[in-house]
Subunit: 135 residues, 4 copies
């Protein structure tokens, strides 16, 4: 195994475009959202709390983004049987709540988006609209 | 004294416009920045970490934004003689570092912006460009 | 009762050999892992996050290592009926998740290893490969 | 500006080789050390606490690694005049203590190493021995 590998990262231009797309989708639905975008190591790249969104949803949106970035899968793909135990062991950072989707570039997790304040379906729809910016 | 008063708040449209303006100024300067916007209670409304910005500056940018929102004045207006003591008593959240400016609407603090990763002058210039969106 | 007793501790040479053995086992399985080793007081002696491992598993691997070092038993030996209550009372540090094994020297707990990112069976297999270094 | 960029990362093979090199240098000096390696976003990749090292130096070694990774420069390059204020505003994570060096790959910060328990010169010497693995 070699000492270094190459990874793609998203720029702040991509982050702003994703926030714009998420806001547009949320406004279309009439459901204000908290939106968080993290990088491949879970460090926040950008976030927005829309007017009228639940302010505590900033925390759940972050957990959803972290879960998706860490696992490389949707947050609600965490198996139900282990959600409670893994959530506790990670200080609540691993969550099975819907609304977290991984950012996959060249087959590797480059980060995650997390959305919270609406129903699970609404949160996922906003996250999907954000990822569509990258394709 | 009456039981209620009215305050102006900034919407997420204003937050996104301020982030766009801050990014544009930072790109013009060639100095990537961490930018944080908080409301009148210090709760984060939006933030962006530009590609190449120092990731620890997210924390100092937040402290600058909080200081400005809390005091209704620029972060570097905190008197030098009390900076160390107030910083310690607030867990580092009150800072005298330059780059934090209050968002004033109708004479009341409606929040604050904090910018960090550049020199003090660069941080302030980006914060000023962000506030210019509101006038 | 006498005023002092003697305990065996593991050196950093042992810690590095255990990390090497854990990595070798994880690579053989094709499952990157987060691996943490703590001493008899729960203070971290060493850790590694393998390329491609889930970064949040650093936290659960630490909880597993702490649980094993504290109890002197495998983390998944925590009785199911008390896991939730003890986990809550310890801020998530006691966990019943599999992948934590105690380091026993002369019949006393000298620390613990915790492994996370794979299935429970994979995590335990890596932990066992690490302990095999000490026999 | 494009939506994605490319970065080099270090693999866990590099992390283990760097830990080995740091330990060898510290043993040669007869000064046990705490050694931490973080990635470009400050997330820990690996660490070791050598037998006899000061256990609280884990925390200062982490701060040194984070400072170097965030700024892309040696931790002791933080200007003396701002150390106290920036340290306070970042919860102690930005430090001017010697012993933190950035990991630079293709001209970009790919992480940082932090070393603590010895004199400043000893800490730097160990950090330099670790970086030599990558050239």
């Amino acid at each position: 195994m070699q000492l270094t590998e190459t990874r793609k990262i998203i720029t702040h231009r991509a982050v702003m475009a994703m926030l714009d797309a998420g806001i547009a989708k949320a406004e279309e639905m009439g459901q204000p959202q908290c939106i968080v975008i993290v990088d491949a190591s879970g460090e926040v790249l950008g976030e927005i709390r829309m007017t009228g969104a639940k302010f505590l949803s900033r925390k759940s949106a972050l957990a959803k983004a972290l879960t998706a970035a860490s696992t490389g899968a949707a947050s609600n793909a965490v198996p139900e049987g282990v959600r409670s135990a893994i959530g506790a062991a990670t200080g609540g950072l691993v969550t099975g709540l819907p609304g977290g989707l991984p950012i996959i570039l060249d087959g590797k997790a480059a980060g995650g988006v997390g959305v919270g304040s609406g129903t699970g379906e609404q949160d996922i729809a906003v996250a999907e609209a954000m990822l569509a910016v990258l394709v």
